[in-house]
Amino acid sequence: MTDRRPTALIADDEPLLRKALTRLLAEAWPALEVIAQARNGREALTLFETLKPDICFLDVHMPGLSGVEAAREIGRRAHLVFVTAHSEYAVQAFEQGALDYLVKPVEAKRLSDTVSRLQERLSAAQPAPNIDNLLDQLSERLQKKKVPEPLRWIRASVGQALRLISVDDIDFLRSDEKYTLIAWRGDQGKPGEALIRTPLKELLAQLDDKQFAQVHRSVVVNLHSISHVIRSGNETADIHLKGRDDVLPVSRSYLHLFRQM
């Protein structure tokens, strides 16, 4: 067992909070030496590799590499404590003590509990627990925020620029060899065209099926943009759009959508 002082790294994108934790730690654990302060996950990793602290306090939400991703890289090589603004990210395993977390604003009492646990582990020369499982759960929790709502906005190239186009402004989508063409209403309702790389099939899966319908192998139309549909003789039809000259083909397999009620 070494006599050297235990060392810690603090990572948080907000400078005042790094300062706050440093100060609180100084009071709760005077023997602890904070040897590094990182502004983001990438810096935390770099500093960790260089300085090899015993303990890392990692803010969960950081730009670039998050606290969770940095934790994954560090693995069992240090004792890890997550710091988070609210317990939404806390997983049951955290509460069971397998992995410690602190809620911001950090309470002195809570910190001293965490400090006791760390001191125990260090003095018993216990290795840091394997937390890959917990990290997976945490990542999942963080990503759950991506609710599968129908797509509302599409990022597309319009000429030289990249723009966000509301799906309500889209008249139809047509797939080309490499791109999908988006026919949309721009400013003042002027018809325009944009291109994106996402294949039509993928887009169709994300679009609201109450608003968009596939009418042909390579065409998806916004139902609100249809002016009228004219059926041709041989089991096909043509869709005429409001305010546009384009005529969209309806293939046999989709003709049933336009049968009269």
Binding site: D13, E14, P15, L16, L17, K19, A20, R23, R39, N40, R42, H61, P63, G64, A85, H86, E88, V103, K104, P105, V106, K145, K146, V147, E149, L151, R152, W153, R155, V158, A161, L162, R163, L164, S166, D187, Q188
Partner: protein
């Protein structure tokens, strides 16, 4: 009457000779028959019968031309066809009914003075009355259609209102995110504990933000000057939290200060710029807010030099979409919401809507 029964209009013969329509024929026939009766030589039943026959023929013709032919030449309105046909068919129908009902006459009815008088009278009244009856029936039909339209609009509007209310509620829920609040409070406490002179002003900004961040549901709009104060408070708080990663500037035309807009209009864009542009960026960036008035339109631009549009941005869509809805609720369709990437990196969000001033 079940809802389904009410929804489907009767088809075919049921429609043409439905009870409602029969009534329209029978009642005038009844009245006319009673009117004519005094001077009539034939029996009442016969008179009534003849009148009803003519009426039924007219009704059938009216119903026929209601849907046939499907396509009319442009210059012919369907109602004209229906009314004209109802009139034209009168003499023929009366002639037919007379022929049918005077089979036993020794002399053909056309040579019989009494019969001819009767024929003439029926024709006259038929020609005079029927067009009016037909037109009033058509009018009632059209106004019935108009009523249903009005109801449909009413329904659409109340759905719209309900959506607006839901928008507001979502807005309420979205405000004062715990993440933002607790992080900020943690920062403020540090300032206080370390005796920093900044503490008080930062608390002031936080209070200003919180007070405005809970929208007052009774107030449908705020002025841009209130929005600017709110946005300034928010940016000051964020700058305090990440001084090395956020710079900002606000440029507002004086003339624009009293323009009305839905609450949180500016804040939505600025929050997006911070959350999706600056915060994910390791070096951070700069946010510029510009508000101008030109030619009766208010132009707002929020520019950031953050990570740009290439990242996955869940949640970006909802805030912007809600903003668009609220602007459309307030100003109709004459609004522009445009978000595009800028070079070398970052995003520019532009809004445009008609300028309406607050008149005290």
């Amino acid at each position: 009457m079940t809802p389904e029964a009410a929804a489907l209009p009767p088809r075919g013969l049921a429609r043409v000779l439905g009870w409602r329509r029969l009534r329209v024929v029978l009642i005038p026939c009844l009245i006319l028959s009673l009117l004519f009766l005094p001077g009539w030589k034939a029996s009442w039943a016969l008179l009534f019968g003849r009148l009803v026959f003519v009426g039924l023929v007219q009704l059938s013709v009216f119903g026929l031309f209601e849907t046939w032919p499907r396509r009319l030449p442009r210059w012919m309105a369907r109602w004209v066809l229906q009314v004209a046909s109802v009139a034209i068919v009168v003499p023929f129908a009366v002639a037919i009914v007379y022929t049918l009902t005077t089979q036993d006459d020794p002399v053909p009815w056309v040579k019989n003075m009494d019969r001819m008088t009767g024929f003439a009278m029926l024709c006259c009244f038929g020609l005079l009355l029927s067009p009016w009856i037909a037109m009033s029936a058509l009018y009632r039909h059209i106004s019935g259609v108009a009523q249903r339209q009005a109801l449909a609009f009413e329904l659409e509007r109340s759905e719209f209102e309900r959506d607006a209310l839901e928008s507001r509620l979502r807005l309420l829920q979205a405000q004062v995110e715990p993440h933002f609040l607790f992080n900020t409070l943690a920062n403020v406490r540090e300032l206080v504990d370390s005796g920093s002179p900044q503490a008080s002003s930062v608390l002031g900004s936080l209070i200003a933000y919180l007070r405005a961040a809970v929208p007052r549901l009774h107030e449908p709009g705020t002025t841009l000057s209130q929005e600017i104060d709110l946005v300034r408070a928010y940016l000051e708080v964020m700058h305090m939290r990440m001084p090395d990663r956020l710079q900002f500037s606000l440029k507002v035309d004086d003339a624009a200060l009293q323009i009305l807009c839905p609450p949180m209009t500016l804040l939505t864009l600025v929050e997006n710029a911070v959350r999706h542009g600056i915060d994910p960026s390791e070096e951070g960036g700069r946010i510029e807010v510009r508000v101008a008035v030109r030619e009766g339109r208010c132009r707002i631009g929020v520019l950031d030099t953050g990570v740009g549009l290439h990242q996955e941005t869940p949640g970006l869509g909802t805030g912007l979409a809600t903003l668009r809805e609220r602007l459309q609720l307030a100003f109709g369709d004459d609004v522009m919401v445009n978000v595009s990437a800028i070079e070398p990196r970052g995003v520019c969000a532009k809004l445009e809507f008609p300028a309406r001033w607050n008149r005290p």
